[in-house]
């Protein structure tokens, strides 16, 4: 590629100018789409005390990210769009001039931004995993293909013994009928009730494969891992009904693992709990299921998985 004649240089620099325009157009389109999205598809409404912590970190990251995004794309476009006479020999400029000084400043600014966001995030991360208060509402959460099951302790605060051999669709936790603590445990499927303003401790595990218990409005997500119960907690602070999703691929029914979490006043929660306890059958029978059990959906998937295994 020998040195070009002047008109080829002109054409080359015109092409470079247009390429710079393309890069800037992509930058502007990205920014515009971001601002549109912020009005139409942003995060769901916050409903827990943990949510502002997460959203605060997201905001800090957006500030940093947007600054560096704009700066980098502009610094890519500028060399293309500048009209400079093609100079002769190249002598590297000292580091105190561009591009060296720009490079050093860019890395320093990134280090400072990184350190700031790291400090804020470490503080929030350990705050989220601090020990829960003593008066928290405890709920056992078990994920299975393809539903969420919840168990509330009785007034004695105890969860009864379980054993897999007792599991039926009427007794999804496999509660041992010989353990009196089970008699007062309330079991629900795909519907979790909590109290606004009262911390809730969730002990999360799974029965078959890894699921992920996801409460988008609470900004809470924890994998439900078989054999490894994990405890997380937060305090719901906005009444309403929100959705629970499964956030870890768990099989063909993964997309159907929807639940609801109802955040209610203490009075409404007490009334609901009373109605659940009233529905528990007499001792000696496996625990009954509260309203919300969708036998049809799980049965369909269990049948298809069972058929697949029967075919082997």
């Amino acid at each position: 590629m020998p040195d070009r004649r002047a008109d080829q240089d002109g054409a080359a620099s015109r092409g470079a100018w247009w390429f710079g325009v393309l890069l800037l157009a992509l930058l502007l389109a990205s920014l515009a789409s971001f601002f549109v999205a912020a009005r139409v598809w942003w995060l769901p409404v916050r409903a827990s005390e943990q949510a502002p912590m997460v959203d605060g970190i997201l905001d800090a990251l957006f500030v940093i990210g947007l600054v560096f995004f704009v700066a980098a794309q502009v610094f890519l476009a500028v060399p293309l769009m500048r009209r400079r006479a093609a100079a002769g020999p190249f002598v590297p400029p000292p580091l105190t001039r561009m591009p060296g000084i720009g490079a050093i400043i860019a890395v320093l600014v990134l280090v400072i931004a990184d350190a700031t966001v790291l400090a804020l995030s470490e503080r929030d991360w350990f705050r989220m995993f601090s020990p829960p208060p003593a008066d928290a509402l405890r709920i056992e959460v078990v994920g299975r293909q393809f539903m969420w099951q919840f168990r509330y302790p009785g007034p004695d605060g105890r969860f009864g013994r379980t054993n897999l051999r007792f599991v039926t669709s009427g007794n999804p936790f496999g509660m041992d009928p010989d353990d009196p603590a089970n008699a007062q445990n309330v079991v629900t499927v795909n519907e979790m009730h909590v109290v606004v303003g009262r911390p809730v401790v969730l002990q999360i595990t799974a029965l078959d494969v890894i699921h992920s218990f996801n409460l988008p409005n609470f900004r809470l997500k924890q994998d439900a891992v078989p054999g490894r119960p994990v405890t997380v907690w937060t305090t719901p602070d906005r009444a309403g009904t929100y959705e629970i999703t499964c956030a870890q691929l768990c099989g063909v029914g993964h997309y159907t693992m929807r639940g609801i979490v109802v955040v209610q006043s203490p009075g409404a929660f007490a009334a609901w709990m009373a109605s659940q306890r009233a529905a528990i059958p007499p001792a000696g029978k496996p625990g009954a299921i509260a309203s919300g059990l969708r036998a049809a959906a799980p049965a369909r998937h269990e049948a298809s998985a069972g058929a697949a295994s029967a075919a082997k």
């Binding site: 997460v54 890519l76 293309l80 500048r82 280090v111 890894i210 988008p216 490894r228 691929l249 063909v252």
Partner: protein
């Protein structure tokens, strides 16, 4: 002082031994390249099917099990059997040529590295057709879903064949990595000190070191999972598993062990995918700005830092997996720290562009190099949101992750590879790709890349999970379908535009104009060989006197001075490269 190449090195003459079971690094490199492009077509077709379904779920093109099979195989093929093959393709072709060697250190091992890959691919492709279909647990294949055949349709024979394919790929990659490292360290031409290596070679060296260290871990994870599936072991399954109405007899295992093993491989793997394109872009930028790469030493040190740190960040994929929170805090620190040396690399490249103002030549390789920088910055920045643990709490396993890794892998690594392909096509095949078609390919692809993958970040912010057959079960996601339609339409444009490249590639192979020896007037050694080079590469091994970036040197006749031009009596640059000349 000339070194005569060993004439006995020449391959046997039969077609089978010259072009099929070849030990010539250039032939093997092209075999890897063509295989990779074929797998990209398969993976790309799967993604088009997925996008038809996601844009128009009523179309019925995929049922839930088929959708998960498509997702799994798309990810597996694109990451492990397309992008992972590109460093092998470029490395095999370029390493001996760029260091002045006649071939790789172990030509037979090189042959084996390609021919262990072929059964791996066959195993993977066959798995589409077995009962139960292909693996459906995601390319991450987390047990127990992937370990228990009853847990999902694809967890039967399909998953076993998947594991066989991945195990063979590990073996193939290990052979290749051994070869790359030995060749670069031992077979450099006289005068080719480490400080005079082109950055493409430095990048391939670090990549091979990473590969050598982490592919054994993936192999171990795969073999342990295979044993759990067929031999009744319980490495990854705890007691009391109830699947499809059956209580399983496993006990004593931990699903998290697999995740640690997988991601100890998986994170360095993404650096295997991005480091060679970064090196390629460095060399392309130098050639087309006609100036040295800015900060050669900083770039090499940055590569070394990124390589070392890449082994210390893996659990940022596991922030919500159930780890002790302290581990989350530790890995957040290392993950945010690795952004600094990575930024040094990008800043050196952008600065190279900056210092080349007024000299920039926008041939197609250069378009792709600059495009790579654009998408790499975007992808790197979205990664910060995932490396940060509290923010990852919300974004984990959402479409934000999908947008992020497509920007960094599908866009940045691919753009760097395309820069390399357009750049070295003349050397590989002795013909030129059509420049105009190449520019049209680029000008359609770059905007389509942004249009397809930026909206995925909005889906993630809205809370849509990955690997969802449909979001329609969730009311809070009910407004997101327009985004899915927009993404699908953009993806069709993006996919369609690649036809231009494929057509250009094959047409030019047969009918393209013949390439001269050094069409880009570049300094590196491969341009001193013929286009394409013969077996053995050099009649006389080149001797190296300078680093590869003597462009526009004061006092020179031309604006480039190849590495083989002696210093004595030749142009004396003010920057003769990193100290360490002499001794090859």
């Amino acid at each position: 002082m000339a070194v005569v190449v060993d004439g006995n090195f020449a391959n046997r003459q039969s077609f089978l031994h010259r072009y099929i079971f070849s030990q010539d690094h250039k032939v093997i490199g092209v075999q890897y390249l063509v295989t990779a492009l074929f797998m990209a077509l398969v993976g790309g077709t799967l993604s088009m099917l997925m996008r038809v379904h996601l844009g128009w779920p009523q179309s019925g093109v995929l049922d839930p099990a088929q959708y998960l099979g498509a997702v799994t195989m798309h990810g597996t093929i694109m990451v492990l059997f397309f992008l992972t093959l590109l460093p092998s393709a470029f490395g095999n072709f370029l390493i001996p040529l760029m260091i002045g060697a006649p071939d790789m250190a172990f030509p037979f091992l090189n042959l084996l590295s390609y021919w262990t890959l072929v059964p791996a691919i066959l195993s993977l492709l066959v798995s589409f057709y077995v009962p139960g279909g292909p693996a459906g647990g995601g390319w991450t294949a987390y047990p127990p879903l992937s370990a228990v055949p009853q847990a999902a349709p694809g967890s039967g024979l399909g998953q076993t064949l998947w594991l066989l394919a991945v195990a063979l790929l590990c073996v193939s990659s290990l052979f290749g990595a051994l070869n790359f490292i030995t060749t670069i360290l031992n077979l450099r031409s006289p005068g080719m000190s480490m400080g005079r290596l082109p950055l493409t070679i430095w990048a391939l060296l670090f990549t091979a070191i990473i590969a050598l260290l982490v592919f054994p871990v993936l192999l171990a994870a795969g073999l342990l999972l295979l044993l759990d599936r067929v031999a009744g072991t319980s490495f990854f399954e705890p007691a009391h598993l109830l699947v499809a109405g059956q209580i399983l007899s496993h006990s004593g295992g931990d699903p998290l062990l697999f995740q640690h093993l997988f991601w100890f491989f998986g994170h360095p793997e993404v650096y295997i995918l991005i480091v060679p394109p970064l090196g390629i872009v460095a060399d392309v930028l130098a050639t087309f700005t006609r100036t040295p790469v800015f900060g050669y030493r900083a770039f090499v040190l940055g590569l070394a830092a990124v390589t070392s740190l890449s082994f210390l960040v893996w659990a940022h994929h596991m922030y919500v997996s159930g780890l002790h929170p302290l581990l989350g805090g530790v890995f957040m620190t290392t993950t945010i720290a690795i952004s600094v040396p990575f930024a040094v690399l990008l800043v050196c490249l952008i600065a190279t562009l900056y210092q080349g103002q007024g000299r920039i030549r926008l041939d197609t390789p250069m378009l792709w190099a600059i495009g790579m920088l654009s998408v790499m910055v975007t992808g790197g920045l979205t990664g910060l949101f995932l490396g940060d643990a509290p923010s990852d709490l919300y974004l984990h396993d959402t479409y934000w992750v999908v947008g992020h890794f497509h920007f960094t892998m599908a866009l940045a690594a691919l753009a760097g590879a395309l820069a390399g392909l357009y750049y070295w096509f003349p050397k590989m095949f002795g013909r030129r790709l059509d420049e105009r078609l190449g520019k049209i390919h680029f000008l359609i692809t770059l905007p389509a890349m942004y249009a397809t993958f930026i909206p995925m970040h909005f889906l993630g912010l809205a809370g849509m999970s990955r690997r969802l057959y449909t979001a329609s079960f969730y009311h809070f996601l009910s407004g997101t379908q327009p985004l899915n339609v927009f993404i699908s339409l953009s993806a069709f444009v993006l996919g369609g535009a690649q036809v231009l490249f494929i057509a250009n590639f094959f047409w030019s192979l047969a009918y393209g104009p013949r390439a001269e020896q050094n069409p880009w007037h570049a300094n590196t050694l491969e341009w001193e060989a013929e286009s394409p080079p013969p077996h053995g590469n050099w009649a006389v091994r080149p001797v190296v006197y300078r680093w590869p970036y003597d462009y526009n040197v004061p006092g020179a006749d031309e604006d480039y001075v190849p590495q083989t031009v002696p210093l004595a009596g030749g142009p004396r640059p003010e920057h003769a490269g990193v100290a360490g000349g002499g001794g090859g």
